[in-house]
Symmetry: C2
Subunit: 249 residues, 2 copies
Amino acid sequence: MKPAVGRRRSTSETRCERCTLQSLCLPLGLEVEALASFDAIIEHPRPLKRGQALMRQGERFESLYVVRSGSLKQLLAQPGQRDQVTHFHLPGEVVGLDGIAESRCYGSVVALESTFVCELPFHRLDELAEQVPELRSELYRCMSRELRNDQRMMCLLSGRTADQRLASFVLGLSERFRARGCSPNCFHLSMSRSDIGSYLGLALETVSRVIARFQEQGVLCVKGRELCIHDQAALVALAEEGVGRHSGS
Amino acid sequence: MKPAVGRRRSTSETRCERCTLQSLCLPLGLEVEALASFDAIIEHPRPLKRGQALMRQGERFESLYVVRSGSLKQLLAQPGQRDQVTHFHLPGEVVGLDGIAESRCYGSVVALESTFVCELPFHRLDELAEQVPELRSELYRCMSRELRNDQRMMCLLSGRTADQRLASFVLGLSERFRARGCSPNCFHLSMSRSDIGSYLGLALETVSRVIARFQEQGVLCVKGRELCIHDQAALVALAEEGVGRHSGS
DNA sequence: TCGTTACCTTGATGCCGGTCAAGCCCTTGT
DNA sequence: ACAAGGGCTTGACCGGCATCAAGGTAACGA
């Protein structure tokens, strides 16, 4: 089921050089020449349809992927527990770093909509990183950033109320869309309420209810999966709100 | 307050070559020669006393550290929220990887007891990694492993009951002690109940109560901070226990 | 067009675990 | 030796959120 067929190298239209995600992506800061070398190792598997898997938990790890367009969710299955969403991946984000350690994919990654990715065979990437210090740094930075994000998430999950979690989630998405040149105030949620709930450690009913409450308060407006933030300041206040669980005084 | 004074290079007794943590530590798998180069960049700040900080959130990131003996906790301060424990670090574990991304320490790291560390100035480490592919791989693997652990933690925090969290926590520690050649069944908790609670997203009272319950059930035995596991199988069962929150059927 | 299905919303109920409070134990310093 | 303070335990109470349940809505295929 791996999209081995349909892979192809860069064409003029898929070149990094012309990619709008340059400012976010791995080859950030590479010289023209290095960028060309980087480009040369990229493969382009055929696009994924909604629900299709980019990788499956336990599969052999071969490549990193960068989302080119669309979005995906990462799922972790654990013994005696329902699958859990651990990440959502947006364009420009690197997928699969957690597979390096054991040469196995640590989670499954599934497209939430039609999704294009760039594939970076890891051994070739590492070879290139040996020669290009900037690429090496960027790889470190990328992993480090993800560590940082995961830690934030752990804090979110461990000490905060449903309202705070939802507010942080929405703000986080908003920020990520802004960085991608999309509207930070109105955007489309490609994931279901149930995905959001799983990700935030809440029941899907709670997600629904909190969204409804935010709407009543005029903080945002949701219709199906279209979301508009009306009062960002209020959302920030909701996310930080002094008194969550364990928050003390 | 940085322990700049008292740093010194390796002496015969601090050499990696003779270190009992070799099988766990970063230079894993290096040839004799590469190991010597690695050894040469290590510095040894003076030991930390209980409560002393190895790094403080927001400080400039310069070095990675490896715990040589003792243990530390990592704390993250967030606006309008009490500090939260995000990691406990045991001997052989690398500290500070999350600082690479922004060249700032992402959290504060504080000793839980008398603690020795090895300091690895990051720019020198990276220089060496350029020449030694094995070291590079090990660095990647190390970060990747941490990503994986953080994800496990996120799952723990988001979908599980207090009992499951505690049981997983104890099992995790047990496993880590085993890997370090210590008894996996009887060990010392260098962190307070409150630290454990913060780490697991529970009130310290809950930690105390759950431990008491486990004790009544004969699963383990705790006296102050000494812990003995009596029935590991039961603990595994408690950790996985089909029916947690969100677990569905 | 209709039926099927997946997704979402809203209500009612109950439990887990947070919070507050009181007291014990052990350590540390004078 | 005693006082003081930090850490731990245990009890009582109650609130937030999971769970169960019952529709409503939208998308899709026949």
